[in-house]
């Protein structure tokens, strides 16, 4: 199918459908518009997948024979967006945001009006290479499932029209961000995601939500400032803002006040922007605070798609900074976030906060892989991106359903959930095991990451990464298995109650749960056909695949084979064990027959947020300073 038509249907059509949904009367009509949007997105992304990689050089949208150039439209919308931020910042008395918007306006104006841009005729403005197609698939399919979930979840909510409008606008914008090739356009799409996140976090309108949304706003705006500065520097040094046109050979025209070796400085700025978007340390507080938003928002923006934009940018930048100090610092920052956010997640009892910290932790792992910057590491990064999005989206949706039905978010209250809500509880256990255990997808990514960390040709600071990855993965086993075990802990003589079914919220859970297994089984296909690296790496991921197993030079295993073995190991006992009614007896409580209060093991005095963040935040700030220092050395 025609690439530009598909692109249109993935970006503009959801936004239009969002506006139609806003105007539509009554929940029933809105419901059908949302379902239509979900179908359009899914079909379009699958068609893009089957169509293969392509390049679209669209400078303008053709409507009824009149060509409307896109760049000026984006510029106008950019300024409107800045004004919106200014208005919100002023209204909420969040003066940091106001200051940061002004700081953003200066480089933006400079870039658009005062810089001589080399005219690149017919340059590709939208590139649909394999990485972009994979990201588009994640955004569209998981986004569609979350839209269907929200139909059931947001029923009866007062401001549901604006919710769906912003969600669908966000989906269209996220697709555009993933496919765009021009960094200046990407900046616009990036800031629209900031706006969408800001509006969605303050959906409930209470004190905590407004404060959380303001914090998200100024941290993301800080990243935006850094992003636009980086884009200006790239324009100066490389003479173009198109990602596909940046090549290290064209590195001339460094600004006079920078040392000659500062060729990687713009990438440091862009990386800083990516770090704020992905909420890596020290910017983690906006993501954990954003958990006051409705759960579909957390599932879509804050685990599967928006925060992935940051690490997506890092993957795109990786080929330009191979072997530089900036790359090493990105790896250290990513590893630091991975280990210490996993440690913080250990101390939490609120399920959404555990998932938030664990999201930041895995994003840190992906960032670490992009920092290590070998072919194997980038393959690991892309694999982790996909598998983590599926599992984490599934977990957030399950937690949302539990909160919706029982009103509690704390994992202590989820003890024995299997007896009250069996379907959701079993899917949750599947999701939790898929995040930590072999042979599932996240484990495949972690394994590849481990292999790539242990492959170095020269001794450098990246040896620290081995510590980060070992400790981080063990911490993640800790908090996931504790949660999974609690879900299954039923009292001896309880009956399983029949569950109240609501198909809009449960169908996405079932689909994603099955998706976890299917994606693992198809890992080898994924590697051989959907990941391709730039030639600078000299390694083709498809070479890693032999038959049903993945083999690098260091060793390999077969995900499908181990999945089958794993299923046998679990299913054979499930089917073969019979528990006769006469065999059920009390737990051993020293014979008293009382059930004591069980809980604890969160170690909040040792590793709780109040204690750890005192040390971790300054360490994070120091690492950011080190990032920029590494760029100018």
């Amino acid at each position: 199918m025609d690439g530009s038509l598909l692109l249109l249907s993935m970006t503009i059509v959801p936004a239009l459908l969002g506006i139609i949904c806003y105007l539509a009367p009554g929940y029933e009509v809105k419901k059908y518009v949302v379902i239509l949007c979900a179908i359009v997105l899914t079909v379009a992304s699958l068609l893009v997948l089957s169509g293969g990689a392509q390049v679209i050089a669209a400078e303008s949208i053709d409507m009824a024979g009149v060509g409307i150039p896109i760049s000026p439209i984006i510029l106008v919308l950019d300024y409107l967006l800045m004004l919106t931020f200014l208005w919100y910042g002023w209204k909420d008395k969040e003066y940091k945001a106001v200051l940061l918007v002004i700081l953003q306006l200066i480089p933006l104006t400079y870039l658009e009006f005062f810089v001589q841009k080399a005219a690149s005729v017919g340059a590709a403005t939208f590139v649909m290479d394999k990485l972009a197609i994979v990201m588009g698939l994640i955004v569209s399919i998981i986004g569609s499932l979350i839209l269907i979930y929200s139909i059931g979840y947001m029923r009866g909510d007062k401001r549901v029209s604006s919710f769906f409008l912003v969600m669908m606008l966000f989906l269209g914008d996220m697709n555009a961000l993933v496919f765009t090739n021009d960094l200046a356009w990407m900046f616009f799409f990036w800031e629209v995601t900031t706006l969408c996140s800001f509006l969605l976090i303050r959906h409930y309108g209470d004190e905590a939500s407004i404060r959380a949304s303001d914090r998200a706003l100024w941290m993301n705006l800080l990243g935006g400032v850094s992003l636009i500065c980086g884009i200006v520097l790239i324009e100066h040094i490389y003479g173009t803002t198109f990602l596909s046109e940046i090549s290290s050979a064209a590195g001339q025209g460094v600004l006079s006040f920078l040392p000659a070796g500062a060729i990687a400085l713009p990438f440091a700025f862009l990386a800083f922007g990516a770090f704020t978007k992905s909420a890596l340390m020290p910017f983690n507080s906006w993501l954990t605070g954003a958990m006051v938003a409705p759960t579909p928002v957390s599932a879509l923006l804050h685990s599967s798609t928006m925060v992935n934009a940051g690490v997506y940018l890092l993957i795109r930048l990786a080929p330009f900074i191979i072997g530089s100090y900036v790359s090493t610092m990105i790896a250290v920052i990513g590893g630091f976030s991975f280990m210490f956010c996993a440690l913080l997640a250990l101390s939490q009892t609120d399920s959404k906060r555990i998932l938030a910290y664990s999201t930041i932790s895995y994003l840190g792992l992906i960032a670490m892989c992009t920092g290590i910057n070998t072919g194997l590491a980038l393959t690991a990064a892309v694999a982790l991106l996909v598998f983590h999005a599926v599992s984490k989206g599934l977990m957030f949706l399950c937690v949302g359903k539990v909160q919706h039905d029982t009103g509690a978010r704390d994992i202590e209250s989820m003890e024995g959930l299997v007896a009250r809500m069996p379907l959701v509880a079993y899917i949750m256990v599947v999701g939790l095991i898929s995040l930590m255990a072999p042979p599932f997808g996240v484990f495949v990514g972690k394994w590849l990451a481990f292999q790539s960390v242990s492959t170095f040709t020269s001794i450098s600071l990246s040896l620290v990464d081995i510590f980060f990855i070992i400790f981080g993965s063990i911490f993640s086993v800790f908090y996931y298995s504790r949660w999974a075990g609690k879900l299954l802990a039923t009292k001896p003589f309880t009956e399983v109650r029949p569950e109240h079914h609501e198909w809009y919220t449960e169908l996405p859970l079932i689909v994603l749960g099955l998706g976890v297994f299917v994606t693992v089984a198809l890992t080898t296909f994924f590697f051989s056909s959907l990941i391709s690296l730039p030639p600078a790496y000299g390694v083709e991921p498809s070479k890693l695949v032999t038959g049903w197993s993945i083999h690098s030079a260091l060793g390999g295993f077969s995900p499908l084979g181990f999945l089958i073995v794993f299923l046998i190991i679990i299913l054979v006992p499930v089917l073969a064990i019979r528990v006769p009614r006469t065999a059920i007896t009390h737990t051993y409580a020293c014979g008293t027959g009382e059930e004591p209060e069980l809980g604890g093991g969160y170690f909040q005095d040792i590793i709780g947020e109040g204690v750890s963040l005192k040390y971790l935040d300054p360490a994070g700030v120091l690492l950011m300073i080190a990032l920029f220092a590494a760029a100018v050395i």
Partner: protein, 152 residues
């Protein structure tokens, strides 16, 4: 004697329950585990958990507070199981007979298979009683199996 029956005789796991009283027999029981008398040469392991145990060694007269607990622990033990009442107080109530706070002997609460008298009971007597209990274990299992076959 089949393999399982021989294994049952060679590996009795013991739960030691003290139900109130002067604890004199408790100390003698603990002395059995010590090097001089060493019941571990019979394969005895003292677990604290009724679900793992075959033989319940009950010491002391059953105080009223402990009655429910003793019944609970007995119910949690899987078949085949043997109860050995160790000491005079456990067998007949001993010096606590007629006291307001005690039920008397253990067999008023749970069925007892072996009575080992003594105040304090001597470790050699405990070992004697334990060895008697091992044969009773196998007898009980045979009875259970024939009952199950008869009911089926």
């Amino acid at each position: 004697m089949s393999l399982t029956e021989m294994a049952r005789k060679k590996s009795p796991w013991v739960i030691h329950v003290g139900t109130g009283g002067c604890n004199g027999c408790d100390l003698e029981l603990l002395a059995c585990l010590a090097p001089r008398y060493d019941i571990s040469r019979f394969g005895v392991m003292s677990t604290g958990n009724p679900k793992h145990a075959d033989v319940m060694l009950v010491v002391g007269p059953v105080s009223l507070k402990y009655k429910e607990i003793l019944k609970n622990l007995y119910d949690q033990m899987p078949d085949p199981k043997v109860v050995v009442a160790v000491g005079t107080c456990a067998s007949t109530g001993g010096i606590y007979q007629g006291c307001y706070g005690h039920c008397g002997s253990v067999d008023k609460v749970i069925p007892v298979d072996v009575y080992v008298p003594g105040c304090n009971v001597r470790p050699e007597a405990i070992i004697d009683g334990l060895v008697l209990a091992l044969d009773i274990l196998n007898e009980k299992e045979r009875k259970l199996l024939s009952e199950k076959k008869g009911a089926a």
